[in-house]
Symmetry: C2
Subunit: 316 residues, 2 copies
C-alpha cells in the first residue's frame, strides 16, 4: 500500500464532504489563559459516530470497487473505528463485520450494534484481534480495513486538518493525539500540503509512548503497556503511519495519566463538551509546557467523545 500524499487527502475530502459533518471550531478564554496560547478546537466529537474516525472509514468504504464492496468490510477496533466502519457500510448499503475486544466500553458495543454491524468478540490483545479478524475475513470474503495502517484511512483522517486550516489559515501549529498514528499522519500530510510552516506535533501518554520512542530512535518500537486511561491510544504505530510520521511530523511529546485526566475534566467543566481521555492528551501537553506554544495560535483536533458515563476516570 502506497504512502498517502496531499493529493490523496484532497481527493478524500471531495469524496466524503457530503457524507460527514463540517464540525465547528470552538475556543475558550479559560483554556487560552491557562495555556498561554490561543487554542482552536476542531470538534470531531460532534462528527458522525462521535469521532474523526468516520472520515477515514467513509473514504475507505467509498473507495472500494463495487464488485469488492458487495462482500462487505471487516475490521478490528477498540471502538470508534468500529462504529465508523459500521455506519459507512450502512450508508453504502453493504455488510460490516466488526471484531471487538470484550472489554470495550458498553456504549461503543451498543452503538456498533445500532448501526446494524455483525460483532465478533475477541481477547483484548493485538494478537487476539488479528487472528479473530482473519477468520471473519476468510468466512465472509469481506475486505479488511485496518484502523490506521491504510492509506485511504490516513488520507480521510487528514481532512479534519484541511477544514481547520480553511477556517483558521494562520495557525502556527496543530496538535493531535497519537495511538496508531492515522490521525497524526493525515494531519501532518495535510498541513505540509497546505502550509509547510505549520508545525505538527503528536501527543502521547507517557506509559504508552511507543510512537515517541519510535520517532526519537528512527526504528519502530513495540508497545510496552496498554493500560493508559486514553483508551483510543493503546495501539502501536504501523509501518505505513510510521513512514508518514517520520516524513511529516515535527515532534512527539508525552504526558502523565494524571495530567490527562485533569485536562479532560478541565475541558468538560469549562467548555461543556464531552471529550474522550485521548483528546485531553494534547491539551495536557499544552497545559504542562511540553510544547513551546507561548502566544502561538494552536489548533487541536478533538478526536471524539465516546465515553462510558458510568465509568468516568475521575471516579476511579
Amino acid at each position: 500500500m502506497h504512502t498517502p500524499t496531499f493529493s490523496d487527502v484532497q481527493s478524500a475530502h471531495q469524496k466524503i464532504s457530503s457524507l460527514i459533518h463540517r464540525t465547528p471550531v470552538l475556543t475558550s478564554l479559560q483554556v487560552d489563559e491557562r495555556a498561554g496560547a490561543k487554542v482552536f478546537f476542531k470538534c470531531e466529537n460532534f462528527q458522525k459516530v462521535g469521532a474523526f474516525k468516520f472520515r477515514g472509514a467513509c473514504n475507505a468504504v467509498f473507495s472500494l470497487p463495487d464488485e469488492q464492496a458487495v462482500n462487505g468490510v471487516a475490521t478490528h477496533s477498540s471502538g470508534n473505528h468500529a462504529q465508523a466502519i459500521a455506519l459507512a457500510a450502512k450508508i453504502k448499503g453493504i455488510p460490516a463485520h466488526i471484531v471487538m475486544p470484550e472489554n470495550a466500553p458498553a456504549v461503543k458495543k451498543k452503538a456498533v450494534k445500532g448501526y446494524g454491524a455483525h460483532i465478533t468478540f475477541c481477547e483484548s490483545t493485538l494478537e487476539g484481534r488479528e487472528s479473530t479478524l482473519a477468520k471473519v475475513v476468510e468466512k465472509t470474503g469481506a475486505t479488511f480495513i485496518h484502523p490506521y495502517n491504510d492509506s485511504r484511512i490516513i488520507a480521510g483522517q487528514g481532512t479534519a486538518a484541511v477544514e481547520l486550516l480553511q477556517d483558521y489559515p494562520d495557525l502556527d501549529m496543530i496538535l493531535t493525539p497519537v495511538g496508531g498514528g492515522g490521525l497524526l499522519s493525515g494531519t501532518a500530510i495535510a498541513a505540509d500540503g497546505i502550509n509547510p510552516e505549520v508545525t505538527v506535533i503528536g501527543c502521547e501518554p507517557e506509559i504508552a509512548d511507543d510512537a515517541c520512542r519510535s520517532f526519537k530512535s528512527g526504528e519502530l518500537q513495540p508497545v510496552k503497556r496498554t493500560d493508559t486511561v486514553a483508551d483510543g491510544l493503546r495501539t502501536a504505530l504501523g509501518e505505513l503511519t510510521f513512514a508518514c510520521i517520520k516524513q511529516h511530523v515535527d515532534d512527539i511529546v508525552t504526558v502523565s495519566e494524571e495530567q490527562i485526566v485533569e485536562a479532560m475534566r478541565f475541558i468538560w467543566e469549562r467548555m461543556n463538551i464531552i471529550i474522550e481521555a485521548s483528546c485531553a492528551v494534547p491539551v495536557a501537553a499544552l497545559f504542562h509546557n511540553k510544547i513551546d506554544a507561548k502566544d502561538k495560535k494552536v489548533g487541536i483536533i478533538i478526536t471524539g467523545g465516546n465515553v462510558d458515563l458510568d465509568h468516568l476516570p475521575w471516579n476511579n
Copy 2:
C-alpha cells in the same frame, strides 16, 4: 418596570453582540429519529459563563447609567445568573455582589469567585435570598438586577432566539425550559416580532409546574416543590414574566423527573455536549409526545452546561 417589546430585544442584541459568543446550532440524526422531528439546538451551553444568562446580564449591566453603575450590581441566584452578572460586571469594571444559597453546586460557587465577585451565602429559599439581598444592597448602594423579573434581562435573553431564527428562518416552533420565565418571555417576544407563525412553548418539570398552572388558570400560582433535578427551574414566575408569557407564549407542558434525567443522558451520550438537567426538559417533552411536533422543524434553546461532575443525576 415596563413589559419588554421586540424593539427592546433588538436594542439588546445590538448592545451585547460584541460581548457574547455567537453560539453554534447543532443537530443530531439520532435525536431527530427519536423525536420524529428535525431539531435544532442553539447551544448556549457554549455561551460565556456556560449559559444564556450572560445575554440578559450583559444587557442589564451595560444599560446602567455610569453614575449608577459605579456602585456596582447585586443579585441572588442559584448559579448561572450569578456567574453572568459577575462576568458582565468584571467586563464593565464595576463591583458585583452575589447572594447564593449555601447548597448551590460547588462548581458554580467557584466560578463566581473566579470572576472576582463578592459572595454572601443565604438559605435556599426565596425569602432567604431576598432578605439577604436587601441587606447587601442597603450596605453597598449596588443596583439589584433580578434574575428574570426585569425587562432588561428578558430582552437580553430573547437575543438567543433572534440568532436562532437568523440561522434557521423556517422553524415551526421554539421550545425553552421555564423557571422564572425570563428566557421563555424573551424568546416568545423575539419570535413574535420576527415571525408570528412560530409557535413558542415552555417546558417545565411536573413537580415544579407553577408556570403551567399559572398559564392555564390565568392567575400567578405559587411554587409547591423546589426539589426538581432541573435546579435552574426551581424558581417561580414573576409578575413581569407572567405578563409576557400570557401575551406571547402558545403553551406550557410538563415532564417527569425520570424523563428529564433520561433525556439529559441521551443528549450527553449522543451529542457529546454537556447540558444541565434544565435543558433536557424540552428534549423530554419532545421525546414523550407532550408536544405535537411530528415532522416539524423545532428549535430548542440549550440553556447551559454548568453541572457538578461529582453529582450526576443518573448516579443518585
